[in-house]
Amino acid sequence: MIDSFVVPLLKILIVLNATLVGVTYMVLLERKVIAWTQSRLGPMRVGPYGILQPVADAVKLMIKEDITPVRADKWVFTAAPIISMVPALIVYAVIPFGPEVSLFGRRVSLFITDVNVGLLYVVSVASVGVYGIILAGYASNSKYPLLASLRASAQLISYEVAVTLTLVSVILMSGTLSMVGIVNAQYNGNVWFAFVQPVAFVIFFIGGLAETNRAPFDMPEAEQELTGGFHTEYSGMRFALFFLAEYANMIVVASVATTLFFGGWLRPFPNVAFLRFLDLIPSWTWFLLKTFVFLYIFIWVRATLPRYRYDQLMRLGWKVLIPLAIGNLVVTGIVKVLMVMW
């Protein structure tokens, strides 16, 4: 009873809370890091070194007036931010933070569940997340958000193809679709997949940047373009939901990249006994550390690179990344067959 009901419930609560807190502090992290890149300090007033800035932001957004445009589709208008946020949160059901450990005298696995189609589940949930953007633009009943949302969703579904193809290469390497199985395959093979599949990793990262509408691919939602993109008509808590959904998606992409390409919860060189002292750091800490490195790279890229124009963006997705991903898949397949034949 406890094992089948209470423990998963606790895990869900912990993961959800950690995600939501993490998302709000991502906002602060981004502002700080971009500020430091630009030789300034970022938010410093609220709390020591600006630590309480997300609290101030949350309060501001919550007390803002909730405006719904006239003749907007009310149900769809309300539902769109929720449809945007929910997929970003439910992906955490399959992401493994660590192996089975002993906690308080019972064996607890540090992931909520291990579906044996886990990776496909992640991809399918990401493809449902497109609806939030399409519906937001449509429900606002005004020209600019509609155009921006169509552009943003076209961008998302284009890069989805490239990302899914790279995931197929990873599946070829690991032989299983389950996320825990992929981490175990990296453990058994003694190498992180990023070193075996560098092209796939790079394509996944670029595709992840485009999927989450992050710079340099954030044309559909940048303030200077199209008067603010598909969430122009949203204010207050609904806008906050979109905002948070974007950061939650970012954390999801970072977590998935960590699991698939960087060994998940494995420490560096898990088979080298010399580095056994690194085992003092618990597995989930390694996971969080690697995810944090990815998030930092996301913000770093935003602070550094200029924005892509929309046609350049689509050209990159269709004419460069997809052929590269297919080529990578073909080469991986050939190498796998040759290795088996020898």
């Binding site: 589709d73 769809v76 579906v115 044996n116 189609v117 496909l120 589940y121 991809v123 399918s124 949930v125 493809s127 449902v128 497109v130 609806y131 399409i134 519906l135 449509y138 509609l146 169509l150 969703s153 579904i157 679709l177």
Partner: protein
Amino acid sequence: MGEAIAFYTLAAFILGFAVLVVSTKDTVHSVLFLVLDFLFVAALYVLLSAPFLAVIQILVYAGGIVVLYLFVVMLVNLKRPPEAHQDPRRRSKLGFGLSVAVLLELVAVGLIGVNETGRPVTAAASVMPVSGNTEQVGWLLYTSYLIPFEIASMLLLVAMIGAIVLAKREL
């Protein structure tokens, strides 16, 4: 018992949303009800121990095909008001007549045929050397059904080229 509750709940939602798809005046709402319908059908597949198919259903149907429908609806709907009053002509009577006939037939099948278990099928099974739903589906797809698989991929290629040619503005 749990399976029965799950089945009846899912069936109620699936049929309810299907009726809403067919009867809503606003096309965009109709598309949204279709998405929800597909998600519940995917849940039904999970209940039927077909997790791979459930995820494929969400990925392809709900995340691909219906997005396509939504795009076309939005491109087409821009100036058009919702559909006018329905045409109460012969066609709808024929449609409802047909469905009543099928319904009666189903009720008859349900009442009469429910006790027969049918011939036990020796599932023409090549014993598959893999276990796990995805692996078994993959095994079948690549051994017994390889030719349909290749034809299906060619069909998708042809459909892709055809859709692009049809929808381009200038040829």
